[in-house]
Amino acid sequence: MLSVLVWLPIIGAVIIGLRPQKNQARSIALSVSFGLVVWSFWLLFQFSSSLSTMQFIEALQWVPQLGLNYRLGIDGLSLPLVVLSSVLTWVAIYSSKREIERPRLYYALILLVNAGLAGGFLVQNLLLFALFYELELVPIYLLIAIWGGTERRGYAAIKFLTYTAVSGFLILSAFLGIGFLAGSEAFSYNPQLIAALPIATQVVLLSLILFGFGIKIPLFPLHTWLPDAYAEASPPVAILLGGVLAKLGTYGLVRFGLNLFPEAWHLLAPGLAVLGAVSAIYGSLVALAQKDIKLMVAYSSIGHMGYILLAIAAATPLSLLGAVLQMVSHGLILAMLFYLVGLIEAKVGTRDLDGLNGLMNPVRGLPLISALLILAGMASAGIPGLVGFIAEFLVLQGSFVPYPIPTLLCVVCSGLTAVYFVILISRTCFGKLDNATAYYPSVLWSERIPALLLAGLILLFGLQPSWLTHWSETTTTALASQIKIAAAANFPGDLP
């Protein structure tokens, strides 16, 4: 069942590549990704949310000498992310320009990215994860380098490639280290084997993993590829990049950091909590200084990722649930923001805060798009009634007891987020149109659909959060109790 999510997009990519008709690429990609959305929703309802273990396990021996098994499974941590990635891939494909150059390569690459994402979230083997993780690298590099924005796209793509390759290298070396030290059996995701390693070794391995995923998430100070890559990527690619690829990093942190090294995690957690808070404040302050709305959204992403790190560091049942929710909510909100910013750039021709004005004008502006931008900005800033608030509140509530100061700093960051989004909205949507330039083309209904869909989800989960939380609750509670047991066994003095 899970293999469908991995192989269907690969098959789709191959079909697109082999078909000579260029104009069919889009419709094939759309139907494949729609199939994936349907399939992942079907999984959602087959999933038993009361079990904390892996479900729908599929296992095949592949290269037993290396410990490389094809082993897939899903739990409450990966399930929401898999669904998110299917939905956002559909949005990305739908929102790609109809008359895009070299459509076959483009859509094939996007489907490959989706396959890599699904694989990353589903595999239960360290080496196979590293494989899927690296599989993201080249398609995204090409997507930025070929279909990116300005002349700087080459630079941005190379920067992305280098950083991510280093990230992949760090992760792979950590995994290989695990394999060498704990035996190749450990490759097939076996926490017991790793727990037997000495604590100092665990800390070293965990640090490698932290740096590797820290680049991907990204965290301050490993984030410098992000503004270039996000700003140069075309909107659909930015949606994938910010909406789901970054989640691969946070997911990896929980799955391969917290879950494999609970003791080492307990040691490093206070530092990570501080780093999360610093990242959040840093991202917000830099976003505040931007003049380009896409860069503002990009830096807001660093800020929101800081919350996730804080929540994972705290590792209470509530904060872990908040972390999963924040991944989903940030994915939806960031995708919507990037989509809207891309649409505004396409219609108005600029992303400059000083060049934009008065887009709320009902006749000549982009009124519905502006309204949705305000909604997305509010969701990002954590206004109640929208999904961002639910996620942030769970994170803050869950993290306050273990780490009060970083949590309070994140509350400040939440305030700063509101500040720069109000700046963005007031400069973009409010004010009056410039009569010399304001002859923008109108927005078609087909162009509004993705934004409306995302807005619907953001509102739905904001008003009815239990539809989002109940998939992950059992898993995150189990994760939290596991780290609590490990901590109690090794550091009895730390517990109250």
């Binding site: 709320m360 004008n361 006749v363 000549r364 009056k432 109108s442």
Partner: protein, 427 residues
């Protein structure tokens, strides 16, 4: 009218080009077929709601009068729909439009069916499928509030004679209603001020009674191919202004079958000086700042302290925010939208967002057409007060030029749209 090239050296005014065009007998608007089509089409689209405006303004001034709860003041009785326009049809005092004197058939059709379908008038009203009469009232109130624009009509409203006339009508209107009568005794200025407002209802109604047939006739002439250039259109307006200049402005109120002459015709108030010129000044130039564009905050000093400096009329208005909250001309633009001639709908469909932003495109055309009307007023004033354009005496021509330059000085503020309308790309 053809005029030989000016005998004066070129003007150094920033609007020299426009001034030279005015001196050659042209309008402020460039003479292009596209401009002509837009202004004539908009005259037509404006004239139909205007036919409603003037009838309803007179109805309110003469019949509704001081009704404290005028819930139904926009519901014209048949009597006022059939009221013969004095300048149209066979019974006309002076036939300007060759069409019928009663309400325009397009207006009647709209009142019956609206944009929705046939239903009782009350439902049309509640569904807001109607003529935005509030716009006409806003124009009226702007004339009422901007005093000191010349003329004798406004000073007359403060005279003892007017007060006595009004008092008689007020007492007759509230006869048998002791509550209102005692209110009137307690606060004699209250109903008097309302009565002044009613006099302006009448004033504006009588002004538009003339403009509606003028615009209808221009549209018909254009359709027949007899009006082919912008100066011709402007000249038609100038001639119309002079033909009508002497028409009386008055305020009669009908109470229980009796006519009260609050401002009798015998006072000799005339259309040009007591209605047309104050109207142009109050509505085209001044009006009131839009709530949606200016702050009324006294400390912000965004609004001039002196009414003379108000510059919020259609000649200065920013049409792009039409359709937004706080932009009063939206009401008129929506009214005109129902009555656009097909050639304009086709024309708008080709530009900008096509039919989606027609409200603004027609607003820009309306602005052009009002610049043409203002040109006609400026030419008429010049004709009345100064010298002909083909005067052989250079000193007379210089006087004309000084007059034109003085008029153009009013458009030197950055808000003025005179520069914008010179260019067809402004739409």
């Amino acid at each position: 009218m053809t005029v030989t090239a000016t005998k004066l050296p070129p003007s150094k005014h920033p609007y020299a080009e426009v001034i030279h065009r005015l001196e050659a007998g042209g309008a402020m608007l460039p003479d292009t077929p596209e401009n002509l089509m837009q202004i004539i089409g908009l005259y037509k689209a404006y004239a139909v709601p205007m036919d409603f405006y003037w009838r309803d303004l007179l109805y309110i001034a003469e019949r509704v009068f001081l009704e404290p709860l005028p819930f139904f003041k926009y519901f014209l009785p048949k009597e006022y729909l059939d009221l013969p326009n004095h300048y149209a049809g066979d019974t006309a005092d002076l036939m300007i439009w060759r069409g019928q004197a009663t309400a325009h058939p397009e207006l009647l059709a709209f009142m019956e069916r609206g944009e929705t379908g046939k239903m009782p008038r009350l439902f049309h009203h509640l569904w807001h499928d109607r003529i935005n009469m509030e716009f006409a009232e806003m124009c009226m109130r702007s004339m009422l509030w901007h005093r000191g624009m010349g003329g004798r009509f406004d000073p007359y409203l403060d005279s003892e004679e007017y007060k006595a006339n009004a008092n008689r009508a007020i007492e007759a209107y509230f006869r048998g209603n002791p509550a209102m009568l005692s209110l009137h005794k307690l606060f004699p200025e209250m109903f008097l001020e309302q009565c002044r407002q009613m006099s302006y209802y009448s004033n504006l109604g009588l002004f538009w009674e003339v403009m509606a047939p003028v615009f209808f006739e221009m549209s018909d002439l254009y359709d027949e191919g007899k009006m082919t250039s912008v100066p011709q259109a402007m000249q038609f307006l100038v001639n119309g202004i002079f033909a009508i200049a002497g028409r009386p402005i008055y305020h009669h109120v009908y109470i229980k079958g009796e006519c009260f002459e609050i401002i009798p015709k015998s006072k000799g108030f005339t259309w040009l000086y007591e209605a047309a010129l104050p109207y142009v000044e109050a509505v085209f130039y001044r009006t009131a700042p839009f709530r949606g564009t200016k702050s009324y905050n006294a400390q912000a000093n965004q609004i001039p302290a002196d009414q003379k400096d108000f510059h919020y009329g259609i000649l200065y208005a920013d049409v792009f925010p039409v359709g937004t909250a706080g932009i009063p001309p939206t009401l008129l633009m929506q009214d005109m939208l129902h009555f656009l001639p097909p050639y304009l709908v086709e024309y708008y469909s080709k530009y900008c967002r096509g039919q989606e932003d027609m409200l603004i495109q027609l607003g820009v055309s309306f602005q052009r057409s009002m610049f043409c009307v203002t040109s006609a007023v400026i030419q008429a004033l010049r004709q009345a007060l100064l010298y002909p354009l083909d005067d052989p005496n250079p000193r007379h021509l210089l006087k004309n030029r000084t007059f034109f330059e003085g008029q153009m000085d009013r458009f030197l503020r950055p808000e003025a749209r005179l520069n914008a309308i010179q260019n067809q790309a402004y739409r």
